[in-house]
Symmetry: C2
Subunit: 449 residues, 2 copies
């Protein structure tokens, strides 16, 4: 036992994260292939089985099989378990790495979750995971209660309402994006209550765990002189701006296209829901293959940006995007530093955002070229959509993923894995050293990627 712990301690954070995901995927493949998980007579090829496991562990939601037609109730329960495993793992690892690497900046959060700076890191990780599970289960318990009772309106039996309510809650909160309706949330296109609950759950999952514990600390009133961290402010404001810009853009792009003939409130809800979902949720209330090419490009870009760091979402992350924009504005104005919320962004974070963006663009570009070779019959717009959806661990799909070649499926799996692990940004998080610079405001660190 001691030797095993020593081995774990010897791993670099990057190695630990990659190892965690490999083990999690292996366990998920087993869980999803236990006797009785499949419906009678349904055979799932091994590659599709692995695909579902990778998609579930990375809480992406892209699928090559129809869940409701493939898995039994037992199988669906296993899938929920894997989503929980994925969601908790993602939040824990993301936050833990941040605390570990970000040294000084993590102080506040470390205090908020009673994690001693000098304490053994494995013990700290355990504390962190317990806190995350507590918060996640609390959110999910409330969500599942509401949806289950509300779903009695749709389903004849309580057990059916329960299954659908709990699954929708877990799928939304972990941003898993899977569905057991066979058509995502399209059956609830006119049910704004369901949509609002689901959107709240998606946002709570995607806003980032550090934000959740800060809000909890703020509400609890137990910490005198509490103030929100720069990270919490930037990621929340960026998240909000992306939601608004996304909703308006989708509305404008589609109002004379697929939204034509819809009632005004239907069009508005469809815009808002898919804007929320494009951050990382991946659920849809509408057949998004009806979207115009312009909307596809726009949503692809939104999925590429992704959700907050230390959340269940992927992509380059909101803070990376925010710093790029802040940098651009400040640079154009001739300023040699970025000031926001009375703080100055650290130079190393500008560097990180640059590195993450460049590498992410390369990845999308090379993936696109490879997929045009392996899957030449699929339109390029759809390929880019699925690629950014995988990298952003969003899971929205133009429906072409099930038709991908084996090579294409493996590539999408790899992108979900990379989008999840944030390997790239992580490498830079480890690799980068702070540069000494003079500063005017006190500096404060922000997570990139």
């Amino acid at each position: 036992m001691a030797r095993w712990q020593d081995k774990v301690k010897e791993l670099t954070p990057a190695q630990a994260i990659v190892s965690y995901y490999f083990i999690a995927i292996a366990i998920s493949v087993i869980l999803l292939n236990l006797p009785g998980t499949h419906q009678k007579g349904v055979e799932v090829p091994f590659i599709d089985s692995v695909f579902t496991a990778v998609s579930a562990v990375s809480v992406t939601g892209l699928t090559v099989v129809n869940i409701s037609e493939t898995y039994s109730v037992f199988g669906i329960v296993m899938l929920m378990l894997v989503l929980q495993l994925g969601g908790i793992g993602v939040m824990s690892l993301g936050t833990f790495v941040w605390l570990l690497v970000g040294k000084k900046i993590g102080m506040r959060e470390r205090q908020l979750i009673q994690m001693d700076h000098n304490q053994h890191s494995l013990a700290g990780l355990v504390n962190l995971i317990i806190e995350i599970i507590r918060i996640l289960l609390l959110i999910e318990f409330i969500g599942a209660m509401i949806l289950t009772f509300y779903f009695l309106k749709y389903y004849d039996s309580f057990s059916e309402a329960l299954l659908n309510g709990v699954f929708a809650t877990i799928s939304a909160t972990t941003n898993g994006g899977f569905d057991i309706t066979g058509e995502s949330l399209v059956p609830y296109f006119n049910d704004y209550f369901v949509q609002i609950i689901v959107m709240v759950l998606i946002i709570l999952g995607a806003i980032g765990f550090p934000v959740l514990i800060e809000v909890k600390a703020f509400l609890s009133n137990k910490h005198p002189n509490f103030r929100f961290s720069l990270f919490a402010k930037i990621t929340t404001v960026t998240f909000g701006i992306l939601l608004v810009v996304g909703s308006v853009a989708i509305y404008l792009l589609e109002s004379f296209h697929s939204f034509k003939g819809m009632k005004w409130h239907e069009a508005i809800f469809a815009s808002i829901f898919h804007s929320v979902s494009s951050r990382s949720g991946g659920l849809t209330t509408f057949d998004i293959t009806q979207f115009s090419e312009g909307t596809n490009v726009f949503v692809s870009a939104m999925m590429f940006i992704g959700a907050s760091p230390s959340s269940v979402g992927g992509g380059i992350r909101t803070t990376t995007f925010a710093i790029a924009i802040l940098f651009l504005i400040n640079f154009a104005r001739g300023k040699d530093n970025i000031q926001v919320f009375n703080r100055e962004i650290h130079l190393i974070d500008v560097f990180r955002s640059y590195a993450v963006i460049i590498l992410a663009i390369f990845m999308v570009l090379i993936s696109t070229i490879l997929l045009t070779i392996s899957d030449p019959t699929i339109p390029i717009g759809s390929l880019v959509f699925e690629i950014t959806s995988a990298f952003g661990t969003c899971g929205m799909s133009l429906g072409v993923t099930p038709n991908l070649s084996p090579f294409g499926k493996v590539l999408i799996m790899l992108l979900m894995f990379i989008g999840r692990v944030g390997l790239i940004s992580f490498i830079f998080t480890i690799g980068g050293r702070a540069e000494k610079t003079k500063y005017h405001f006190p500096k404060e660190r922000v997570i990139i990627g």
Copy 2:
């Protein structure tokens, strides 16, 4: 006269450049519409006339009309004049701004072209333009001589060979990319001599004027202790690497596609030629609509990168790309500075490359979305190709530009203009101030964008 000069002196460099291009476009529209410039019975709509002028002044080469079917010999001579005007203007302004803004780094070049640092800037500009015209005309004179005599093999009369030889030379050297054959250089698909001459001319135009004068100084042996500047080294090495990578990639992507059935040397030359041409030349020896979607994406990316600064090419420029890559490699290795050729890249140049890349990506993305709305029938891959071709002032085309809606044509014109002016990067060049940082190697400035 004095008052006019005062007015000019009051312009910021950005205003001066934009003004120059507006005036140049207006003059070009007039030149291309002089009586007798069109073939009998041919009517060119005003928007197409402006399009041709913008394309020629920006030496891009995208066309909405077939030059050989539209213009008379007199019109073609006018077009050559406009291309020269464009090419000289582009080189002069780019280099001049660099000398003006880059203060210390321009010293060497300023000495090489006998431009005094304290001398009046208009006088310096005149010296610079004279030097550029001398070098450009020398290159073109040699090129035209070779091609004209060689073309006697193809054309019956000397005057025909002369017209085609001179036009091809000017189109290649200024990287104008226009043709009077009606099908670019496709007639010379099997003539490697013509292709080699044209490639050399394209490269001489696209490698950047500062490189040309340094090479001239080096060869003249007149300057003791001469060494090539960091800028010349970076831009030339990057240019070379892009040529090699481009050739190999095009060969691999097309060898089982459009190159199938070609002789090995045909495939190799087609790969090399279009790799060279994608930097900024825009001429083709092959019907590139036959390229696979993967190649289209790859070539789009190459055109987006573009040519050297202070050359006749556009795009984000080779140095911007080089610094992004060098930054990425150094950052991943945990280094907080970029060392190359025993010099350290200045922080401000890293910032500039970041700003240029982010803004360029935004521009391409927004342009793509707008074109999918204005021209919904054109495949998105083709739209992105024409957009990057315009921004890179490359001029390669999948043939959809003539079919664009008026809005689409205006947008492409705007992109050619922006790609040419480098307005964005220029704004940052003016806007950005150097940050004070410690350095280990002596620092030296490099042009971004």
